[in-house]
Symmetry: C2
Subunit: 271 residues, 2 copies
């Protein structure tokens, strides 16, 4: 499977890259199907937002061209794009004229047990809490130690994902997924203005729900609301939708809106 750095085949990058030094960059994990990147416009839009907020120059045309060429070479699988601010001298101050570095890695599409999608998953209750940092909230940046620590909390493979709450106890997301609730026919998604990653599949599902006339609210979610929800589901751009079946002693059925959203996600990922 190919690896490119700045458009050329390469397996390494300079030690002076600010992505390494400070996590000064962003990433996207993009499915490749039939030699095409899936949900490309959503991924580019999020990357562009992240670049604007971090002040990293964003050459969208170049990145799009490169992703299309990379996908053509990969064929089937997954591409991970890391965009860093590029090289810099010692010190936090960003160079006045940053030359962002593009790193493209590829791999086979992740495989998950079919039961995750069919019967639903158990959520591990992570004790790692997400810090509240509005300046970075929503972005898929390279400062991911919280996720590393949270993912390190469980080895038991009967947990497919972990639940992340913020330091105030609110329900935010999974370690590598977003979380949605259904209560009395309303779809609820956590506000991601203090922490969390605004996922590409979440954006797709919320856009679909809005268009389909499903009552929808994006707001702070208390833990009690999760426990009282009628349906709970996880989503991301690789696996689509997994129903959540259990957390601690709480059990949920796999509900009709979850199945509908799962079908929507499947359509999006198949096309």
């Amino acid at each position: 499977m190919p690896t490119w750095v700045d458009g050329c085949t390469a397996e390494s990058l300079p030690v002076s890259d600010r992505g390494l030094a400070y996590g000064d960059g962003l990433f996207e994990t993009i499915g490749i199907r039939h030699a095409k990147p899936r949900l490309l416009q959503r991924h580019l839009a999020r990357l562009g937002t992240g670049c604007a907020r971090l002040g990293i120059p964003f050459d969208e045309a170049l990145i799009q061209r490169e992703l299309l060429a990379f996908a053509a070479e990969v064929g089937e699988g997954v591409a991970k794009l890391i965009l860093t601010r590029g090289d810099g001298p010692r010190g936090y101050a960003a160079p006045q004229y940053a030359r962002p570095r593009r790193i493209l890695q590829s791999g086979p599409a992740p495989t998950y047990p079919g039961a995750h999608a069919e019967q639903g998953v158990r959520l591990f209750p992570c004790t790692t809490r997400l810090a509240e940092q509005p300046l970075l909230a929503g972005l898929k940046h390279l400062n991911r130690l919280e996720q590393v620590l949270a993912r390190g909390e469980w080895q038991d493979s009967t947990y497919a994902e972990g639940l992340l709450r913020d330091t105030s106890g609110r329900v935010i997301e999974g370690v590598f997924s977003n979380l949605l609730l259904v209560k009395d026919g309303q779809l609820l998604s956590a506000e991601l203005s203090r922490c969390g990653v605004a996922g590409v599949m979440r954006a797709e599902l919320l856009a679909w729900a809005e268009q389909a006339g499903i009552p929808l609210r994006v707001r702070d979610l208390e833990y009690a609301e999760l426990l009282e929800a009628d349906e709970v589901l996880l989503c991301n751009s690789q696996y689509g939708v997994w129903p959540v079946r259990a957390l601690h002693t709480r059990d949920w059925p796999v509900g009709p809106l979850t199945r509908k959203l799962q079908a929507i996600a499947r359509d999006l990922l198949d096309c």
Copy 2:
């Protein structure tokens, strides 16, 4: 100036390194004088603490040996050691048997205007606030986007450093320094259990003050206490101590305890 990766001369590292992917690692910036690393035991102790908290294997003897050999080659200047969790497959889960990667970069000793130490510096009041994350507080880890954003707030070189407060408004530190206050003869340092970096020079100065019988408290510091302090100073392991002369419209004199601490720091860095 030399660059080593895992003990060998190299200018690059594999794109699969988790330091790049997630900022999954730690760093130390170590002065080199007369071919020896300065404050080596303090730097190693902090790195060891960081490794223990992040679950990264720490081969202290190997790292010490390498730092000594590197310092001998560098002669005079500064060494930056990055220790990452090493390579890993896609996904946040750390490999069961991580092989940490050691990256050593060198450069000339940073040069600052003599006036910073003699007359003191102006502090830029950063609006970037530090998020409160007890799991990472105190560590010099590679997730440093907050510092990048904060340092990007000012270009005016009449500000030598920026003041960082936490999201609750407490006074924490500088962007690349720790901050100490003097009030009624008492030395005050911010509690770093929710955010901040526990600096090597801070540790040295606090240890000296304790031994010298200077009244000392490490606790939460409100912003009003900074404004009402008799003396304010910054410290780090490269420049030692800078008096803080101004913040907004507040002016401070360069006080006697600041000068004493400055002399202590100078001794530590000269030896």
